[in-house]
Symmetry: C2
Subunit: 458 residues, 2 copies
Amino acid sequence: MSKNASAINEIQAFLGERLNTSAAVRALHGQNEAHYPEMPPEAVAFPNSTAEVSEIVKICAKHRCPIIPWGTGTSLEGHALPVQGGITVSLQNMSAVLEVLPEDLLAVVQPGLTREALNKDLRATGLFFPVDPGANASLGGMAATRASGTTAVRYGTMKENIRALEVVLADGRIIRTGSRAKKSSTGYDLTKLFVGSEGTLGIITEMTLELQGQPEAIAAAVCDFDDIESAINTVIMAVQMGVPIARMELVDGLSIKAINAYSKLSYPEKPHLFMEFHGSEVAVKDQSETMREISADFQGGDFQWSTRSEERNALWAARHNAYYAMKALYPNKRGMATDVCVPISKLAQAITETIADLDAHGVSGMIIGHAGDGNYHSTLFVDPDQPDELALHLKLAHRMAERGLALGGTVSGEHGIGVGKQKFMAAEHGDAVSVMADIKRSFDPDNIMNPGKLVPMN
Amino acid sequence: MSKNASAINEIQAFLGERLNTSAAVRALHGQNEAHYPEMPPEAVAFPNSTAEVSEIVKICAKHRCPIIPWGTGTSLEGHALPVQGGITVSLQNMSAVLEVLPEDLLAVVQPGLTREALNKDLRATGLFFPVDPGANASLGGMAATRASGTTAVRYGTMKENIRALEVVLADGRIIRTGSRAKKSSTGYDLTKLFVGSEGTLGIITEMTLELQGQPEAIAAAVCDFDDIESAINTVIMAVQMGVPIARMELVDGLSIKAINAYSKLSYPEKPHLFMEFHGSEVAVKDQSETMREISADFQGGDFQWSTRSEERNALWAARHNAYYAMKALYPNKRGMATDVCVPISKLAQAITETIADLDAHGVSGMIIGHAGDGNYHSTLFVDPDQPDELALHLKLAHRMAERGLALGGTVSGEHGIGVGKQKFMAAEHGDAVSVMADIKRSFDPDNIMNPGKLVPMN
């Protein structure tokens, strides 16, 4: 019997039918939302508790069987693919809100909980969890990939919004990192080390999340621009002036066309900024007045401002559905997400060079950006069964990443490395990659925790 | 010749007189601002460049000679004491502003630069670096202890304000962490791992710091309260309502008395909140109006508000001099700083229990707090040559730390562990301490980087 089969047998002995080896369940956990080939794990475990996760890991450690954590499978870089075989550990049964501490603006949750479920649960408290990557991802998965999204410009990424963790290590030990205090100077910041570690150092089994009070007032605004530089320059000025805007999304003309068709809207087919303001009534008015002035300085068009929640919801639904709107134009292709983030002073250059490169190859790539953070996505659509087409699109995506590095940026602002971007690790981090590999070896000497992801271990 | 003497000889051969073994220079680098005994290093090196730091570390690694980094020596937990002997590496010659990137709100600096020198250098740019621990510390030292201070409630701690680092590792290798991009999901967050590592994992030789635009308007306010609970409840309400206040300092009645005497002021001898507001004219008025209302709800006294910079500067000078004001009351004693941080809901309980404990022992401890963060200091004054007095004060400080832990907090909000608080590491972190020790061994197998600090290595 193979080592993995031995581990599966032993886990089945204590989990019973919560260790599933059916083809259907395995296939479901071998999928991904990007262009990577499907790859079912050998079994899927459904633990109900941290103690069960620990027991599963101990058995896998004994047999050196790979373990792949699974939240909702919405990763865009193949994070949950069992590239070296092994057992997928689904956290779907561990999705409780364990405690809400309204006075401390904290919630203690299990990793399988999705962000929308948490916010629904919080509704009566007047609090919300601000990180919004678009997909209704699990909070554990969002932590593991250091996710962010449209609101990071105001509220930060998962890195800034997690106060404490419980983690099962590669030998099955359970540790706690951080505390309920807002800040601390007592040792290495293990919380921040696990956030973004993509399951390679341990499995997050509990999270203490920082919440925000629902703002007294929320307003949204939309403004179109004649060219993408003007829209980006508006963003740069807003960042430099420190306007505490809650969302500031760049949507290019091609994306607007797709959004109009998909969401039955009629925005002018030009680059737009979609904005949102949070604060007191006075602050929201003050911020949006400032943004109206900045937009006008860059020849922005009609500045459409609204405090009506239905108009606001329609706006953000259209923005969140942008990916599906684009995908609808390419029904038989798969999305290839790119995720470059550059210093804000380089954003216009990065985006205009990217558009020029795509145009030169006759490829249409729609550009959407969390512009206030210097982060943008150009989603390419490709038929993975057409080798020439796949190669061209991969080459263009590769050049976007290299362009980001050349401008002092990073190859991933929020999607992570997974299997897709390991080839850039040395270019981005130099010798620091060997330090990451040392950390990985120190935490996981037998390389069983989501092996083949994040850090090249050569 | 001892191994350390061999290292000193070898370093002297290439640094010349920038390797100093004079009694005076050694004594200067054996001091500390707390109650720990003086302890001169065997030599002090003054490198001029990262390459020289790397060379020094390589020689020390060869001879297994301890290396202690030195900024300005303003640590309060004996971080720079050579408790296992060895060579102190002063970064004072590495104090340049290497580059200011106003469009990206970044500055690249060397670690020996002090925060006041940086802000003086930035004056013409309209930008500033917000972290303010009171002392005019070196920015490298502030990074190494994860310092914060009065403005953290709005701008965060050193952890939130460093984008990238250059670090010399224990084998002399030079690595870079992070990039100029505002966010990234590409690997373990090494920047955050070095911030707060107290020189035990490597020596920071360059830092990319995040700057803020000078706010359009700044206002300050002072309000007194009948009791400390009312002042704290005002803070809790402000935090829960999300008022983006820039400073919110709690100063108890005893401290006010000391401040009045020292700074020739006449505040009522009652608990006070010292506040500062940053933003647009409209935002500053809006925030202070909100604070006036909240203070009134908790029976606050006269809410003295001012936008005049001379009044504001006098206020913050008085606050920053509070330690010296207290010390002036005890001219022959040494300060023993405490630094507990608790979840904000527990702040009133933590402080009132602390005051009761001090009162019960006839010890007067003034309480000053970065209340918006749940962080407070009770400074005790002690004659280290009186064993009974020292023992009593240490016991009281110990109980403050334990009280903080019992309330879900941390034994240090911003001063760090150094040599003084290692005894609490297991109580605060449990098994996670062994993970920190593993990280230390992975980075520094021969334990030469500031040995005897932060992580107990038993």
